[in-house]
């Protein structure tokens, strides 16, 4: 495994102003490094600052103190040079665009020509298994399919990093498990660095190389757990004793919180 640090998070704290002007600590002194090509989960209950941490990496928020370095760049530079693609809690498809045109959106912003745009979109649709739906509108697709389009769009600009903010939390368990498997297949083909926010312990264990456990009030990094389950992983791995013991170990991190 190449051990160059792709993303460094150093002493990052984030304080919000509450409604009455009081300070609310969302993140308190978080430190860790993410290696290139690694699949990392940020796991914790609501209010632990996991989404805040992701949005800090995406430069959609600025940290109160501390520093984030992404491939030698600041988050702002990384955003402007399109180092990452982001997948949100809901698919965020523009409903007036067809599926293909939705995937083309970031490419249009990057001023890539029409022919190349369509080629990339077709390639991405094939990657997520939705080639037959290119000319449909978002409302004609199921929730699971829509979120695949969201992933395809994030990958279309061929970013080094994929930032995923609870992308499967709105899906039913069967669809979610299927998409988790598919995401791992896509990841093994594309070799992206993935940072995946979730509040689902088994999702984090199933997907990740390492799970960052965050505890709330204020949000801090309680533990980083290596997931040494063999890859490629399929649904059967969920029933193995190793998987179960990892679940139990992570659950212990939240005891007394």
């Amino acid at each position: 495994m190449s051990s160059t640090s792709e993303i460094q998070i150093r002493n990052v704290s984030m304080v919000y102003k509450g409604q009455k002007g009081e300070a609310i600590a969302a993140l308190n002194n978080v430190n860790f490094n993410i290696r290139e090509g690694e699949f990392i989960s940020l796991l914790g209950p609501s209010g632990c600052g996991k989404t805040t941490l992701l949005r800090l990496m995406a430069d959609l928020l600025k940290p109160t103190t501390g520093e984030i370095v992404i491939g030698g760049l600041t988050p702002g530079e990384a955003r402007k040079t399109r180092q990452y693609g982001m997948v949100f809690q809901n698919p965020v498809l523009y409903e007036w665009r067809t599926i293909q045109k939705n995937i083309c959106l970031p490419l249009e912003i990057m001023k890539i020509g029409r022919v190349e745009r369509n080629e990339i979109a077709e390639e991405m649709l094939e990657l997520v298994g939705l080639s037959d739906y290119a000319n449909r509108y978002p409302r004609q697709l199921s929730g699971g399919m829509q979120q695949r389009v969201g992933i395809a769009r994030a990958l279309a600009i061929n970013p080094k990093i994929l930032l995923m903010d609870e992308p499967f939390s709105a899906l039913d368990e069967f669809t979610r498990n299927k998409l988790q498997e598919d995401l791992l297949k896509i990841w093994s083909k594309t070799h992206k660095t993935v940072i995946f926010v979730t509040h689902n312990i088994s999702e984090a264990v199933f997907l990740s190389d390492r799970v960052c456990v965050l505890t709330p009030h204020p949000g801090q990094l309680a533990d980083v757990i290596d997931i040494n389950l063999p890859r490629p992983r399929s649904n059967e791995v969920r029933d193995t004793p190793e998987f179960m013991s990892l679940l139990a170990r992570i659950r212990k991190c939240f005891m007394g919180v």
């Binding site: 955003r79 693609g85 949100f88 007036w96 509108y137 409302r139």
Partner: protein, 256 residues
């Protein structure tokens, strides 16, 4: 399944229409409202009046329609531009929008005699009234469409470092299309009404002028013929906007 449902609904609507006119013709409403036939002419009399005065009715209808269409067009364009400026420069914009909303609350038909004073008795004063009426619905609706965005849609574009112009063209503008069409629908109804009402005061042409004149002469059937013409114009304009909406919003959930 859906299509046959629409057909059944259509048939039911037509049947009700026929029943309504039939009741009217045989004097059902006259009994109900205790009216004499000279107060409420029978449908056949109205049709007869429309037939024998067809040319003059058409002439005046054209006049009113012209005022309404030009006024709706100008008012909608102005309202749209106002909403755009408000969305682009929110600092002064929000105050301006409050002003438009307050302006909208003014009973603007009271402005009609004043507009006659300003722009003369011809079409231009009526166009001015219609323009004033149709500005606010367009401004308020379009502003909503430009600024009320679904969660994360703006974050998405920011994550791609899109500039303000791109955000406006690729997100805000298409997002406002349903609202713009809704405002147009409102304006077709409001615009025709405003045109006719402002003709009541001082004018030489138009449905409103003719209506007030023939009623003074107790030509009830002809008066009703003008009302029929006005109703048909209203339905026509609304229908055209609905058709545009159907094709423009194929992607929208309301078209399912």
């Amino acid at each position: 399944m859906q299509r046959s449902g629409n057909l059944v609904n259509g048939i039911i609507a037509v049947m009700f229409g026929i029943l309504f006119i039939f009741c009217w013709q045989v004097g059902g409403f006259h009994v109900l409202l205790q009216l004499k036939p000279y107060q409420l002419p029978l449908p056949t009399d109205i049709a007869g009046a429309l037939y024998s005065n067809f040319d003059v009715v058409m002439e005046n209808t054209k006049f009113t329609m012209c005022e309404a269409l030009v006024g709706i067009f100008l008012g909608s364009i102005l309202g749209f531009m106002f909403a755009m400026l408000t969305a682009i420069f929110p600092k002064w914009g929000s105050g301006g929008l409050t002003l438009v909303t307050a302006f909208n609350a003014v009973p603007m038909i009271a402005m009609a005699p004043i507009m006659n004073n300003w722009f003369g008795m011809g079409m231009s004063s009526k166009i001015a009234v219609v323009t004033m009426f149709s500005m606010a619905p367009m401004a308020i609706n379009t502003y909503r469409g430009l600024t009320v965005l679904k969660p994360f849609t703006l974050d998405l574009l920011n994550s791609y470092a899109a500039d303000k112009k791109t955000i406006f063209l690729k997100l805000r503008l298409p997002n406002s299309v349903p609202n713009v069409l809704t405002a147009l629908k409102i304006n077709t109804t409001i615009g025709l009404m405003a045109a006719i009402c402002s003709e009541f005061f001082t004018s030489y042409h138009g449905i409103g002028f003719e209506l007030s004149t023939v009623l003074k002469l107790s030509q009830m059937s002809l008066g009703w013929a003008y009302i029929v013409a006005a109703a048909l114009c209203g339905i026509l304009m609304y229908g055209v906007v609905s058709l545009v909406e159907y094709y423009a919003l194929k992607w929208h959930t309301s078209q399912q």
